[in-house]
Symmetry: C2
Subunit: 411 residues, 2 copies
C-alpha cells in the first residue's frame, strides 16, 4: 500500500517501532501527585515491554523524553528530566520538551531523532500533567502562557478558539449543532474507553444549554482540566528485523512511518487566515509525504479537539474533508451513533475514538503521547492498519502530526 | 592527536560544525524583553552565518532549538519554540528544551541528534532567560523548582551547594581562601570580556566580607541573577567537506567532537557522595571517549560555576585535577593573576576565561549555549585547539559536557 520513497537514507534502512505503551487513566486524580503519575506511566510501559520481551532488561531503555507543559506552575517542579531518570536504577540521560499542548508531539520528534541518529536504540517517551492542584482560574492563566503574552495578553484559549468558530461559521455556514455534534460523538466514544475522564453520554441539548464561555463556545465545547500521564517505548529496528517480529507475535507490530512538524505565528492577529490552521496543513502534508500515504488511507485519527471547533478545523486541514464539509459530516455521524448505529466510514477516518481531548481529557503535556499510545493499541489489534495523530500547541502556532502503520509494505 | 574510534557509524562519516555564534551582552537588561533578547541572539548568529557565507539564505536554517528554564514564571510566557520560529519568515519547526540550568546543553544534544538523524542539515540553537522582571526572592523560589520540591522543599540552591562546600572542606581541607580564589579569578577574567555582567576586579577580602548567604557561601561566592541570550548555528558536514572549509577560511573551523550527558538523583539526600558530582564524572568520561581525548588535552574549559565550590568540584570531577587539588591550584592561579602574571598552565586548562557564571553572569537557560559560543570563538582564533563546556542542572542531577575541536585529525 505505502512506500517510503520520500524518506531520508537513515529512515529508509531503519524504522521506529512503538514496542510498548501505557495510559494512566485520566481524570481529577487527587490521590496522585505529579511524580506518581509520571512513574505510573513509566512503570506500566516498561513492564509491558519486558512482558512482551521487546526488551530483556530495564537498562535497555537508554534515554527518557518527558513531555510536560507547566509543572513549574502547576506543581512547583521543573527539571522533570532528572525526576524521570531516577525512576530507573541505571539513571539514563533524560530530556524535557515543552511546546504548550503539543509537548507530547515535540518529545516524540526529539526521541525519534535520537534513534535515527543512532545515539540510542530504545528510548521511553512519557507525557505528564497534574493540573488539578491549582484552581481552574489559575490553570486558565497558566495555559494562557502558551499564547502570545505580549500581543494577546488578556486572551484566553476559549476566547481565541471562539474567534476561529465565529469565522468558520460565517465563512462555511458551520452551525451550533455541528459544534455540539463533536462533543456528543466524542462523549459517546469515551463511554467504552477505560482511560477516559468522562465516560458518559451527553445530548445536543446539554451542550447547547451549558454555560456560555466565549461566544459561541459553551462549557461542553471545551476540553476539561485533567490529570494524567501516558508513555510509549520506541525502538529502532532494521527493516528485515521488523518483518520477523511481525510474523512471530500475535499482536501486530506498529511503526512510526510519517512525521510532520510546522509552526505558525504565536499570535492569531498576525495570520492571514483564521478558518484554517496553516501549521496543521503543513504538518499533515509532511507526514503523508514521508509515509507515502494520503488522507484517504487513514482509518483512525486522534486529532487535537481542545474545543469542538478545533476538531472540525483538524478534520478539514488534515484533508479528511473539504473545507466546510466536516461540520455536516460530524453531525451525521453523531446522530447515527446516538441511534446506536456505528459511524459510517464516509471515506474518512474514525476521529477521536478515545473520546478525544474533549471526553478522554486533556492533561496538556500527556495528550500528544496518549494519542500515540492509543493509536498504537488500536493498530496492534489488527483491526486497523493506518492511524494518525495530530497534536496542536496554543492556537495553532505548533502542529505535529504522526502516522502509524502496521503491516505496510516496504518498497 | 585525537581519534574517533568510539563514535558511531553516523558520527564517523559526519561532523557537526559550529558555523556561527552570538552572545547578547549579559546583565540587568531592563530595556530588553524576553523576546528582544531571544531575537537579538538569533539575529546576530544568523547575520554572522550569512556574512561568513556558511549559509546563503536564512531559509537554510531548517529548525530552531530554544533553551529556557522558566520563562513561564519569569515572563509569563511558554511556547517559546513558536515565538522563536516566527523570527524567521519561513517559520521553521522549533523546539524548547528545559533541564533547569542545563537547558542549554540539553538543547544542543537534541539539535545535534536532528543533524545526525539527517532530519536537518543546519539548525540554530538559542538559549535565553530574562530573570530581572521578578524580585530576587521570587527568582530564588523559581530557581528552587529545579531541586526536588517534594523531598527538598524549603531548600534553596545556595543552601544545597553550601552542603557540598562544607563536605568538601571537611574531606579535602578546602579553605575559605580557595573558594574566594574562584570568584577573584573569574572576575579578573571577566574584565576583558565584553559580554560579561561584572567587568570589575574583586579582592579576596571583598569575597570574605560579603554577606553570608548559606554558610560557608557568601554573596560573592554566588553567580548573579542575569538577563541574557546566546545562539549558535550548527551544520552537519561530511569529513571531506570540513577539511576544505578549514583550508579556505581565515578562521579555524570548529567542530563538536564529543558529547556526554548523565543524570543523578534530583535530591541530594539520595546520593552516596556529596564531594563529587557523579553526573559530571560520567558525562565527562562519555565526552572524552567520544572525542578520543583526555582531560590533559583540554586547553580551555567553561565549567558550571554557579557557586565557587561548583568550579572546584567541576575541575576535579572532569579530571583536570585530583580530588582535593583544585582548591590549591585555583588559589595559586588567582594570586598570580592578581600580580598581573598570566595563569600558568599547570597541566590543566584555563578555566572560565569568560568569567564563568560567577562574573559573566548566569541567565540560566542561556548559559549552556553561551559556553559553546564562547569556546567556539576562542577556538576560531587558532589560539587553542581543544575546548570543553560543562553545564549542570540543579545540584548535579543533570550534567552535560561538550568537547569542541579545531584541526583535529580524522583517522
Amino acid at each position: 500500500m505505502s512506500n517510503l520513497k520520500s524518506k531520508n537514507k537513515s529512515q529508509q534502512s531503519q524504522l521506529v517501532q512503538v514496542v510498548s505503551h501505557s495510559i494512566v487513566a485520566f481524570g481529577e486524580l487527587w490521590e496522585a501527585s505529579l511524580r506518581d503519575l509520571l512513574y505510573q506511566a513509566m512503570e506500566q510501559a516498561t513492564e509491558r515491554a519486558l512482558e512482551t520481551q521487546q526488551i530483556d532488561s530495564e537498562s535497555e531503555i537508554e534515554a527518557v523524553y518527558v513531555a510536560n507543559m507547566a509543572a513549574g506552575s502547576f506543581s512547583d517542579q521543573r527539571h522533570l528530566s532528572a525526576l524521570a531518570s531516577q525512576f530507573f536504577e541505571h539513571q539514563p540521560p533524560a530530556f524535557r520538551l515543552e511546546a504548550a499542548c503539543a509537548s507530547g508531539g515535540a518529545a516524540l520528534l526529539a526521541a525519534t531523532d535520537s534513534l535515527y541518529a543512532e545515539r540510542y536504540k530504545t528510548v521511553l517517551v512519557v507525557g505528564v500533567e497534574k493540573m488539578t492542584d491549582v484552581s481552574p482560574s489559575v490553570a486558565t492563566q497558566v495555559l494562557a502562557t502558551a499564547a502570545d503574552m505580549q500581543n494577546e495578553n488578556g486572551s484566553t484559549f476559549p476566547g481565541l478558539y471562539a474567534l476561529f468558530a465565529q469565522a468558520h461559521m460565517e465563512k462555511y455556514g458551520t452551525t451550533r449543532e455541528q459544534l455540539s455534534a463533536v462533543a456528543v460523538k466524542n462523549h459517546l466514544y469515551a463511554v467504552d474507553n477505560p482511560y477516559a475522564q468522562y465516560r458518559k453520554k451527553i445530548t445536543f441539548e446539554q451542550v447547547d444549554k451549558s454555560a456560555l464561555v466565549a461566544d459561541p463556545l459553551r462549557l461542553l465545547d471545551c476540553s476539561p482540566i485533567t490529570d494524567g500521564a501516558a508513555a510509549v517505548v520506541l525502538q529502532r529496528v532494521s527493516n528485515s528485523v521488523q518483518r520477523r517480529n511481525t510474523m512471530q507475535s500475535s499482536k501486530k507490530a506498529v511503526f512510526i512511518t510519517g512525521q510532520g512538524h510546522a509552526q505558525d505565528t504565536l499570535d492569531v492577529a498576525s495570520r492571514r487566515n483564521v478558518t484554517q490552521l496553516q501549521a496543521t496543513v503543513k504538518a499533515g502534508e509532511q507526514a503523508y509525504s514521508q509515509a507515502g500515504v494520503s488522507p484517504q488511507d487513514i482509518e483512525v485519527a486522534e486529532v487535537h479537539d481542545c474545543f469542538t471547533i478545533a476538531e472540525i478545523l483538524a478534520a478539514e486541514d488534515l484533508g479528511f474533508y473539504e473545507k466546510g464539509a466536516a461540520g455536516p459530516a460530524v453531525e451525521a455521524a453523531a446522530k447515527q451513533l446516538l441511534k446506536g448505529e456505528m459511524e459510517m466510514k464516509l471515506n474518512a477516518p474514525i476521529i477521536n475514538f478515545s473520546g478525544g481531548l474533549k471526553a478522554c481529557g486533556h492533561p496538556v503535556g500527556a495528550t500528544g503521547v496518549k494519542q500515540i499510545a492509543y493509536i498504537a493499541e488500536l493498530l496492534e489489534s489488527g483491526k486497523f492498519k493506518t492511524g494518525l495523530t495530530h497534536n496542536v500547541g496554543g492556537s495553532g502556532a505548533t502542529a505535529i502530526v504522526h502516522i502509524l502503520q502496521t503491516d505496510f509494505e516496504n518498497n
